[in-house]
């Protein structure tokens, strides 16, 4: 199975933030869209980092003036991206090994989506459940 089958049922809206925007703005975006992560993009729309609730909380633990800081200060720069043709299984392995919970998806040069480790695990589970169900049905209904 490929990443594209996850993207097929996901929102086309990728919520992004600029590196020079404030954490105040970032928090507003997270709250407005009810999400946990934003992709940080440069002026050309290319992803250069990722910022999560956790990053902001960590900064808040350090300083009261957290909301005035810029996104670039707390974002994670160590970013890998995936493509719609990537295999689900290897992406899951990579995310687990490198502790990435979100992955921006690029279609050639364009950012077209973000998937979370939850999306990938759910797709895997549905796949296994489907296989088990198909086998069970064969066993139960196939006897006569």
């Amino acid at each position: 199975m490929k990443i594209e089958s996850i993207l097929a049922t996901k929102s086309l809206n990728v919520i992004t933030v600029g590196p020079d925007q404030s954490l105040r703005e970032a928090v507003d975006l997270l709250a407005e869209h009810n999400i946990g992560t934003l992709i940080v993009v440069d002026e050309a729309g290319q992803p250069i980092g990722i910022i999560s609730e956790r990053d902001i909380v960590r900064e808040a633990a350090r300083t009261e003036a957290v909301l005035g800081q810029t996104v670039s200060r707390v974002m994670t720069r160590d970013l890998i991206t995936a493509s719609p043709e990537d295999d689900l299984e290897t992406v899951l392995q990579t995310m687990t090994a490198k502790h990435f919970r979100h992955l921006p998806i690029m279609d050639r040069e364009r950012l077209i989506g973000v998937i979370s480790i939850g999306d990938v695990v759910k797709a895997q589970l549905d796949k296994y459940q489907g296989e088990v169900d198909t086998l069970q049905t064969q066993i139960i209904e196939g006897q006569v």
Binding site: T81, E89, D126, D133
Partner: protein, 466 residues
């Protein structure tokens, strides 16, 4: 607005399509406690069950027993089947909006992906989709002809569909004769001259999309030797590292099976099936008459993408494979429905978790949903459509609870029936289908087969006296 979903005002749902996704959704809706729901299911063919009838291979009869589960759903008095009624032809979106609170599209993926290489449209080059439809008796493909006088055949892709096509080409007439394969296909395949079949994978054994039971089956064919080239069965460094890092037992087993085939020597059976890896067709070669006579293959090497996927990169080594028949089996593809937003990139209805989405506003379209292959793309076995349909139905129930449904002017079941009768007087009920089913099974039994399929719409209608 008074609430909907009770005895006085049942929730009226239209489901378009009658494959697994459609039936799993209907089942889940009908099982909701305290919800009064009425379901009308529209199918463009006279017969229900989608790819369970028209896709699943004829020699995989047991898998089709899932239709018993679907028939139970159909026996619910709140369920109604309208066969031979096509959305976009016999009924329009406006008709459904005028008669239902919610509409669910479960129309599958009827077309195929292309390879995008020169020569793809030469005579003798086909989509697996057509061949599968033909041997399974899908009325759309009844009149197709495949040149089985050819001795060498290539199948591009190594998914389970490619394996089905390879197996059907390699089974003996005796093996085929006890299945529910379409009669025209049984006849043509019994005269087949095919001797060598090639399955072509663009990546290595560890990335092959087919599943283990299917590939094991290929090793036990009565009159065909299945082999893998030893040099192509070995894992490259990228794949070996990836496999060692994971606890993926299924893939390990798959590689083991394929390496086992690489140790085999042909035993002199009438046919030979060769599974190739790390090759991509770059061009189909034709003769003066425009007919396929071969293909040019490039050898690939695997390189890991940033996210770790071993992906094929063409090398500068080429080879030619002489074949007279080519089937591309590189995936199915959904088709757009009139008036329904479509995502061209993935070939699916534009949706979020099964809610149809307006491309302009990016907001859900009230009352419209999708599930199955037209929602997530053409992957997954029959059972995978169950969690998929349950996700969509959960959205439908949430929206109902929020009052976000359509408000049809004529929600009465009888009104829709009048409309269908007017637009497609020859429509079939589920009882009509059960009658056809009985005839097919009876005719099949007489020949020692599970069923003898009707393959033409006229014949189905005639059998019912229409």
């Amino acid at each position: 607005m008074p609430p909907v979903g009770n005895e006085a005002s049942p929730l009226r749902v239209a489901i378009v399509g009658s494959g697994p996704a459609a039936f799993y959704a209907a089942d889940h809706l009908l099982k909701q406690n305290g919800l009064k729901v009425e379901i009308d299911m529209f199918e463009r063919l006279p017969t229900p069950y989608g790819l369970v009838r028209a896709g699943v291979a004829p020699d995989h009869h047991k898998i089709k027993s899932v239709t018993k589960v679907f028939a139970k759903v159909a026996s619910n008095p709140r369920f109604r089947f309208y066969g031979f009624v096509e959305f976009g032809k016999d009924i329009a979106l406006s008709d459904l909006r005028g008669h239902y609170h919610q509409i669910l599209y479960a129309t599958g993926a009827p077309t195929d992906k292309r390879m995008g290489i020169p020569g793809e449209d030469l005579k003798g080059s086909y989509a697996a989709t057509e061949f599968v439809g033909w041997y399974n008796g899908h009325p759309d493909y009844h009149d197709r002809q495949f040149d089985l006088s050819q001795e060498r055949v290539a199948i591009v892709g190594v998914g389970n569909v490619a394996v089905d096509v390879a197996r059907i080409l390699c089974l003996t007439p005796e093996e085929l004769a006890v299945t529910d394969i379409a009669n025209h296909a049984l006849e043509a395949l019994s005269q087949s001259h095919v001797k060598e079949v090639y399955l072509l994978g663009r990546r290595g054994p560890a990335q092959a999309a087919f599943t283990n039971p299917e590939i094991k089956d290929l090793g036990n064919l009565a009159d065909a030797d299945t082999i893998v080239l030893p040099e192509e069965a070995q894992l490259d460094d990228v794949s070996r590292a990836a496999l060692e890092a994971s606890d993926d037992r299924a893939t390990r087993k798959k590689v083991e099976i394929l390496q086992g085939y690489a140790l085999r020597k042909p035993t002199g059976k009438s046919r030979q099936l060769t599974i190739r890896f790390l090759v991509s067709p770059v061009e189909l070669i034709g003769n003066a008459a425009g007919k396929v006579v071969g293909m040019r293959l490039v050898k690939n090497a695997l390189e890991a993408t940033a996210a770790g996927t071993p992906s094929p990169k063409a090398t500068d080594r080429f080879e030619e494979l002489s074949v007279g028949l080519v089937f591309r089996s590189v995936g199915y593809r959904g088709a757009a429905l009139p008036g329904v937003p479509f995502n061209e990139r993935w070939g699916v209805i534009l949706n979020e978790k099964g809610r149809v989405v307006d491309p302009e506003t990016k907001q859900p379209v009230v009352g419209e949903y999708c599930s199955g292959w037209i929602k997530r793309g053409p992957t997954g076995v029959i059972g995978t459509n169950k969690p998929d349909s349950i996700e969509t139905v959960s959205c439908m129930l949430d929206d109902l609870a929020r009052g976000s449904i359509l408000h049809p002017s004529e929600p009465q079941a009888s009104k829709m029936e009048e409309l269908v009768r007017e637009h497609q007087p020859k429509y079939l009920s589920f009882v009509d289908w059960l009658r056809l089913d009985e005839i097919e099974v009876k005719n099949g039994r007489a020949q020692g087969r599970p069923r003898d399929k009707f393959t033409r719409v006229e014949d189905m209608l005639a059998a019912l006296g229409r």
